[in-house]
Structures are given as structure tokens and as C-alpha cells.
């Protein structure tokens, strides 16, 4: 499996721990489905923990953007935790850093849903 996703629930917030690559084909699709399933269940306070992500391509970035949008459309939020430098650079190059709420520690990411 290109991308492994495991799920933790902390109160209303769901943290998805991503390990592997978010790339065209299986990786992007898997992320798409994992977020889609949560939104279907009405869970829309989402944190993607990217600490274990080793590689992302434009398809993976596109998937992050599109899941950001769908989550917002349900009145929820999709936030990013522990951006690896390479992912941060990709977001930077395409001016997406301003679009996403990003965090470097989990507690702050979770707390940010309270306000």
C-alpha cells in the first residue's frame, strides 16, 4: 500500500495519521476515500497528520485542496499537522500555505476547533 491511513478520535476531532506517499493513482484515491467516508458519517473536524508522509505530487496536493473544500462545504474544517519540509515547499510554491490552517503540535491543532 502506497499510503497507510490510521484514524484516532479525540472528542469531536478526528486525526488521520498518514504514512507513505500521496501521489497520482492509489495514494490520492485512498486519501480521497478516507476523508469522504468521515464526511459521510458527519465527522467534519479533521486533522491530517502528515508527519509520516514522504512524498507528495501535484495530484496529492490537488487532493488536499479538494478535501479542504469539500470539508468546508459541510461546515467543517480540514487542518494540516506536522508538514514535512517538502510538502510545505510544494504548498508554498503554489500559494496554498495561506489557504490551509497548519500546526506543528497536535494539542494546538485540536484546541483550534474549540474557538
Amino acid at each position: 500500500m502506497q499510503l497507510e491511513i490510521s484514524e484516532r478520535r479525540i472528542g469531536e476531532v478526528v486525526i488521520l495519521d498518514l504514512v507513505g506517499r500521496i501521489t497520482i493513482g492509489d495514494g490520492s484515491l485512498h486519501l480521497h476515500d478516507a476523508v469522504g467516508r468521515l464526511l459521510d458519517e458527519g465527522r467534519n473536524r479533521l486533522v491530517l497528520n502528515l508527519a509520516g508522509v514522504t512524498y507528495v505530487d501535484s495530484s496529492g496536493i490537488g487532493e488536499l485542496v479538494s478535501r479542504h473544500t469539500t470539508t468546508r462545504n459541510t461546515g467543517g474544517r480540514l487542518k494540516l499537522l506536522n508538514l514535512p519540509k517538502k510538502v510545505r515547499d510544494l504548498l508554498q510554491i503554489t500559494k496554498l500555505l495561506a489557504i490551509f490552517e497548519t500546526f506543528d503540535d497536535e494539542a494546538s491543532a485540536i484546541a483550534s476547533f474549540e474557538s
Binding site: T23, I24, G25, D57, S59, I61, G62, V65, T69, T94
Partner: protein, 162 residues
Amino acid sequence: MTFAENLIQLRIASQLEFIDLVTSLTDNLSALAGFDEDSVYSINMAVRESVANAVEHGNRYDPNKPVEITFMIGSANLSVSVRDHGEGFDPTSLPDPLDPSNLLNPAGRGILYMRSFMDNIEYERHPEGGMVVTMLKTRLEISGQTPTVADGGEKRQDAVGN
């Protein structure tokens, strides 16, 4: 058949599963050509994006259309060209992914990444159909660390120099 001593060509059927084969070869080849880790990653990204475009937009996933990737190890750079057998397109009339109204588009960033990660990229239509993108990455020469394989120019220089 004549060939150039610094050439490597790969031709794959249009299957996404094959893209990782191309990028692994690219990594090995970039390392052999003397690029540092950061550059190996940059070239990998650009090759992945260009091959994905050739499969997706060029050949439209038609598995009976090939994608051809040509690597040329030069004394000062690596050139990679990627050719598909699709209808081609006009790269000057694409939406700008940095335009605020496009920021949330789910696609449209690949070519921008290719431009950011390589030193030069150029699109042209192949005379026999399809699109060719040629991308150049310059090697920063680190003294005492020359690639083992390069084009004739460098080799002749070495033969004189040493």
C-alpha cells in the same frame, strides 16, 4: 543504428503503475550523473509530473500508446524529454494556478512544479504527433566530484586534464 554514448531511453505503456518505474530509474540515473540529493528529488518530481501528464492528458490512459522518456547526461546538465502520442496542447494558454480565482482548483499545478524544480522546460509539438516536453537540470560542480558518465565533451577534457 547510431546512438549517443550518454543516452538512455525508456518507453512505457500508458499505465499509472509504471510511473514509479520511471522515477526509480530517474533517481538512479541522476545519482550516477553526479547530482546531489536535493537535485535528485527535484528531477524526480519533474519527471513524475511530466510522465503523469503524458499518460493522463496526452495519451488519455490509452494503454496502447507509449510514453517515451529520453535522458541525456551532459557534462554540465541532465536533459530529460518526455513524449506522448496525444493531440498536443498550447502551453501558453493555460490557466495560471497562482491566480487567486484558481487557487482552490483541484488540478493545474503540475507544469508549475516542473518549472520550479527544473532550470528550464520547453514544450513543442512532435513532427509526427504528440507533445514533447524537454527539461534541463544543471549540475552544480563540486570540485573533485565529477560524474563517472558524461558526454564526449567532458571525457575529452578529462583525457587532456589528467
